[in-house]
């Protein structure tokens, strides 16, 4: 199956995956609005309809969807800390196009190799030594047997403790931030997201942002940003509850 022909039915887009990529590259569909999970689900459904697992299609899909996700992530999160490579969204789109082209070229190169191999099928040569070749003598200077003992001792030694630090790289639960923001919103009607997450790790910031989206979806807050990369301002949605209005969002977090 061709991944590019994968039919999608998303809120922001309806049509083949291929076309979606085009429109994203041409910036005619804002990537922020594209539900990447929806694409994954559509692909998995298509996959489930087949009896055999097409690993090549899966590979191609993963490459494409990973590029798309990366692009989306870049457009969602500014790069103030310079942790991500400094790529503007349009550069990232360029990067995606470049990767797609490279990927296609590698496929072409593999095809070229396959054709070459077929063309060389009638070229036979000897593998290995000639039948009556002079014996190859690799001469080794005298060695110390203590080296052998040392080698076995090293193999039998307890291995050094492996650092498990990378395992700590877990995503904190979204609920943690939901609670935190709700608590904050009880005290203040507005806050500045950037200052609120200042000092947190990149992953925590990302999860905090997900919490923000969740609150926005459930209508508890409204989000405002003057222009891309400007501070994200969060305001409590007044749902009839009368609470005294505080000073504008410029109030900094405690």
């Amino acid at each position: 199956m061709s991944v590019r022909e994968l039919e999608l039915d998303l809120d922001a887009f309806e049509g083949p995956f291929d076309l979606l990529l085009t429109l994203v590259l041409r910036e005619e569909v804002p990537l922020v609005e594209v539900d990447v999970a929806g694409i994954v689900i559509a692909f998995v459904e298509r996959l489930a309809e087949r009896e055999e697992l097409d690993l090549d299609a899966c590979g191609e899909f993963l490459v494409l969807v990973a590029s798309l996700l990366e692009l989306k992530a870049r457009s969602l999160f500014g790069d103030e800390d310079g942790e991500l490579e400094e790529l503007a969204p349009e550069e990232a789109a360029e990067e995606l196009a470049r990767r797609l082209e490279e990927y296609r070229r590698i496929k072409e190169a593999a095809l070229w190799l396959a054709e070459r191999l077929a063309g060389e099928r009638d070229r036979f040569f000897r593998l290995g030594p000639a039948p009556l070749a002079p014996p190859v003598e690799r001469r080794l200077a005298p060695q110390d047997p203590a080296l052998l003992a040392a080698a076995v001792r090293a193999l039998a030694a307890e291995p050094p403790q492996v650092s498990l630090k990378h395992l700590e790289l877990r995503f904190p639960p979204v609920t943690q931030f939901l609670e935190r923001f709700r608590a904050l919103l009880k005290r203040r009607s507005r806050f500045d997201f950037d200052s609120e997450v200042e000092g947190l790790s990149r992953i925590e910031q990302a999860v905090a942002f997900l919490a923000l989206l969740d609150l926005c979806r459930s209508g508890e807050i409204s989000i405002d940003q003057v222009r891309p990369f400007a501070p994200i301002r969060v305001a409590r949605e007044e749902t009839g509850r009368s609470e005294e209005k505080e000073a504008p969002w410029t109030v900094r977090s405690a």
Binding site: D18, L55, G59, R104
Partner: protein, 200 residues
């Protein structure tokens, strides 16, 4: 003189050419001009001239033994005319059943130079561990150091056997990656053409 019929015998390079025949028939891999010159204790230019003579003698259609320039050196192989006979007697374990995945992995490594499994995986979009192991087993790729830094991943490069199996004089004989798959921007053009067909 006991060989009046060999015209080439009169050539002053004949002795050297015969020495080269000897070296080439026992060598287990292609020999560079430098290898040959060193073993024959002669100079590189004379070796090249003698190789020219041998190339005439051992050429396709004329001899069952063919001299070819491959994998950065010179080697004897069988004439293509004898492929059927060779096929009855010899197996081709190296190239038998190279999968699409194996060919793509080879392409990545051949074109990008030494790279690690994670790098290849990034290109191909799937794990390549068993594919890489299979290619090492076949002798088409080999370890080539590690990525820098502690615990850097092992990197792999293609071997001279790879060049030999694919009949390449060197890796430089691969078509340029930019020239593969049409001109630059082909994908984008295709995507945009698709977009234009779509009603707004």
């Amino acid at each position: 003189m006991d060989r009046p019929l060999r015209l080439v015998a009169a050539n002053p390079l004949d002795a050297l050419a015969r020495t080269l025949e000897s070296l080439l028939v026992v060598a287990s891999q292609p020999l560079s001009v430098d290898d040959l010159a060193e073993a024959a204790a002669d100079d590189g230019e004379r070796v090249e001239t003698a190789l020219g003579l041998l190339g005439e003698r051992y050429r396709e259609g004329r001899s069952g033994i063919v001299l070819e320039e491959v994998a950065g050196g010179w080697a004897f192989r069988a004439s293509r005319d004898a492929a059927e006979a060779c096929g009855r007697l010899f197996e081709r374990p190296v190239e038998r059943g190279l999968s699409q995945a194996a060919l793509e992995t080879l392409a990545v490594i051949a074109y990008l130079g030494p790279c690690s499994r994670p790098e290849v995986a990034r290109w191909r979009g799937v794990a390549v561990d068993s594919v890489v192991a299979g290619l090492v087993e076949r002798g088409l790729i080999a370890e080539a150091g590690r990525e820098s830094g502690i615990g850097g991943a092992v990197r792999y490069r293609t071997t001279p056997l790879f060049e030999r199996v694919f009949g390449l004089e060197s890796l430089a004989a691969l078509p340029r990656l930019e020239e593969l798959g049409g001109e630059d921007g082909e994908i984008r053009d295709r995507l945009e053409a698709l977009a234009e067909r779509r009603p707004a």
